[in-house]
Symmetry: C2
Subunit: 214 residues, 2 copies
């Protein structure tokens, strides 16, 4: 398959210079097309032009590299949400703005799942909890990670009277469940092949359901 079966001396210096980063970038590229399982240590080192074991100077294990890729993916999800949130104007009124905020968070999530299915799956393939994780590597420009952005939107909704206080607790999990479930159906389930507009319609219907049912 490869035109260069053996191509060790891809650089003159003994040191790589930026290996950790190169491995991370390679890992991200692998995850992008192929999802978490495609993140293969040896392949990342190949792309970086080093010997397999060199990776262990920067990552404790394959799992550790995957975690770094995952953090990057989570940050991108957060950024996708922020893009949608930034489209809104508070001037439409508190309640409307709050509802739109929840929708924006969901729309960003769904859009990212559709645009980057491999990275999306990687972001949520771990059992690690992101809810209260302060790691800025998993956050967007706002400093909040996807879960925190959702919580913020729901707080906004509760404050605006769009969500009775007694139903505020745990509402994250209800909204997250719905949107996450659809995202999976979209990026690896039966809704993979659907054209974008159709998916967007279903996505908005799902958000209608959440808004009405929350």
């Amino acid at each position: 398959m490869s035109t260069t079966p053996i191509s060790r001396p891809r650089r003159s210096t003994y040191r790589h210079g930026d290996l950790r980063n190169a491995l991370l970038e390679a890992g991200i590229a692998l995850a992008r097309n192929g999802g978490p399982d495609a993140v293969v240590l040896r392949e990342a080192t190949r792309q970086a032009g080093v010997v397999p074991n060199a990776a262990y100077r920067h990552f404790a294990s394959r799992e550790d590299l995957l975690l770094a890729v995952r953090a990057h993916a989570l940050a991108q999800v957060a950024r996708a949400m922020e893009v949608e949130l930034d489209k809104l104007h508070p001037s439409v009124g508190a309640l409307r703005y709050a509802r739109d905020s929840v929708r924006a968070v969901g729309t960003g999530y769904l859009r990212y799942a559709h645009a980057e299915p491999g990275l999306f799956k990687t972001a949520f393939s771990s059992h690690e909890r992101v809810e209260a994780d302060p790691d800025p590597a998993k956050a967007g420009a706002s400093g909040m990670n996807p879960f925190q952005l959702l919580a913020m939107a729901l707080d906004r909704l509760a404050a605006a009277g769009g969500l009775p206080p007694e139903r505020r607790e745990g509402a994250e999990y209800l909204a997250w469940s719905a949107v996450h479930g659809l995202s999976l159906l979209i990026c690896e389930g039966p809704m993979q092949g659907l054209p974008e507009p159709v998916r967007d319609v279903i996505g908005q219907r799902l958000l209608d359901m959440v808004e009405k049912g929350l």
Copy 2:
């Protein structure tokens, strides 16, 4: 680790007699604790007492074995739904019965995800579409697979007037998304450790949301 490092002659006959089944059972056991990734061909053959390559007389590949395990898991999901459906009595009135049917389907799904997380993950780890799959190996006692049971419950709801006809189409995907998302949060996500009653409460709240929002 193993007390019998090499234990080839676990039987006297050259033929195993029921190898396909033995491999399937082993695969199911592996999936039960460990999920899809734990379904390892060589381990299954070890448990069956045959040489690794013997598996290829019955399964084209590891993937093929996994598919068989998956069919079994899907059938169990269907059966879990049927258990919940069988608890209902149509005498409560058509609309109430229809609503309860949708809830029963969701409850069965959630219960199974909680009771058998490994098999649950295996059931839905494939990209294969189950919607119109007539394979009886994936169905419950009723002959319907999980998706078909959901569709039936939604039909019932629409017939009873609990779901406007214009919102019937695609409703499967909305309900499925919500329940599937929560199932994942329960069986491999942040809600793993929660005690059963708490999870049941959240599950019922989620079904409330679906019922109200559909």
